[in-house]
Amino acid sequence: MARKEYAFYPGCSSQKGASASNYLTSVESMCKTLDIKITEIPDWNCCGASISYAEAGELPRHAMNARNFALAESNLPGQDIVATCAACWLGARESKERLEHNDRLMADTQEALKEAGLNIKTIPEIKHMVEVLIEDLGYDELKKPVKKPLNGMKFAGYVGCQTNRPFGIHGESFENPVYLDKLIETVGGEATPYDQKVTCCGGALAFSEPDKAQAQIKDIIEAAYDSGAEMLVTPCPLCQANTEVYQGQINKKYGTKFQMPVLYYSQLMTLAYGGSAKEAGLDGNVIRARKLEEFAGK
């Protein structure tokens, strides 16, 4: 019996073989060490993400999330839902709030759910993996299993938007949240201070308005380099992808020489807990984090 159990919502990008599969890999290793049991919600579906607003409208988006709630509730009773993707977490939390505060919306949603043979009694708590770590366990618990502290390595904690606004993690300031820095320090790394910590990476506009998004990404990476960081650390698959995969294009456009690996907090923790490069999903980084790979090898 694990010390904590959660209904796990990986989301489309963090499932096996998807664009953030390495996130999943590292999360699984991390949870194993921490004795957290995460059970995937059977037959879960896409949360709709923020960008679907135009095509989906309101109710269908809530219905999609509601279906996941209902499935979790019936198959994994009593367990909080934990998501690793910031957008999934935010989308689900918004749906939960709206449904709980708007009877008309709730009634319509139930009616729609009926079509799929489901219904909601009470919506479970919805947590981001980071909340599980720092609120349910706490930094001290997270420190205990550290075998190989990431001494001397400098990371810029890139919080971005959706774990931070509008709900925030652990009631932290929207302008200068520190949970990511604390996680970095918990595993022995150094968190460098820089002023683009909560700048938006452009989100979905990376596809639709690449120029605008890449201009913002440039600001972020630049500031991270200026702060002396060797790597970026994020809690969000979309932030990770945007800040990592476009560095080449940005270099072309702006003549910069960006080559900064972008890691998930879970990858750092897995390594610090003594996990291998593979367990940490380092092979999943497009810009290889050589320094960490060597570190893992030692």
Binding site: G17, A20, S21, A49, E58, E115, C161, D283, G284, V286
Partner: protein
């Protein structure tokens, strides 16, 4: 579509504010804006490229009844959902959602700019996600590249080739998905029924409000 636009315009006469309040998600918050402009100043895209109209100006235009200008505007589509405006608003106006809501309504009326990239992304994403219940990232990427036709698609694909290859190397892009394999929900059928119902109910609710207008 366009005749739906005319119907709505007619139903709400000149009261565009009321139209937005009833038809756009969170639209009933528009009236609470006091024109401080903190939202406009907080928007990341504002400082890189600028908009035709920042949020607070859009709200003023709504109150001033500038229906056509607002609904055909490109502005709402610039939202990155970063929520800066929302958390800083001294009136706690959910600006992010209102932006989405107005965009969605403009699209519903057929007034959104043609081939607006974010709109196209939204359509593509949702259709892709709901087809099997989960996103098929490869097909999503493909359909995005080829939105402007084969030629442009190939060109774009070439531009993005390094990105794609990188992802493939990193096992973060599953070629199987291109061939329709990959992630699916089991109860796709149930999901489709559910969504059909949801769309129907939402349409009914909004039509009901319009009727009351």
């Amino acid at each position: 579509m366009s005749n739906m636009n005319e119907q709505m315009a007619a139903k709400y006469k000149n009261n565009f504010l009321k139209e937005i309040e009833e038809q756009a998600e969170m639209g009933d918050w528009v009236k609470m804006c006091m024109q401080c402009g903190v939202c406009s100043g907080s928007c990341p895209t504002n400082f890189h490229a600028g908009w035709d109209h920042p949020p607070q100006e859009i709200f003023m235009m709504i109150r001033a009844g500038k229906r056509e200008e607002v609904l055909t505007s490109n502005s709402m589509w610039q939202c990155t959902s970063c929520y800066n405006c929302y958390v800083r608003c001294p009136r706690k106006v959910p600006i992010t959602h209102i932006m989405h809501g107005i965009a969605e309504y403009a699209y519903r009326l057929g007034l959104a700019p043609k081939m607006q990239p974010s709109l196209h992304l939204s359509q593509t994403f949702w259709n892709n996600a709901t087809k099997h219940g989960r996103v098929n990232e490869v097909q999503l990427t493909q359909s995005l590249y080829f939105k402007d036709g084969i030629g442009a698609g190939i060109k774009k694909a070439m531009e993005m080739k390094d990105v794609a290859l990188g992802l493939v190397k990193a096992k973060r892009l599953n070629i199987m998905e291109a061939l329709g394999g990959g992630h699916k929900c089991k109860d796709v059928d149930g999901i489709h029924k559910m969504l059909a119902k949801a769309k129907e109910l939402e349409a009914k609710r909004k039509a009901g409000k319009a009727a009351g207008a």
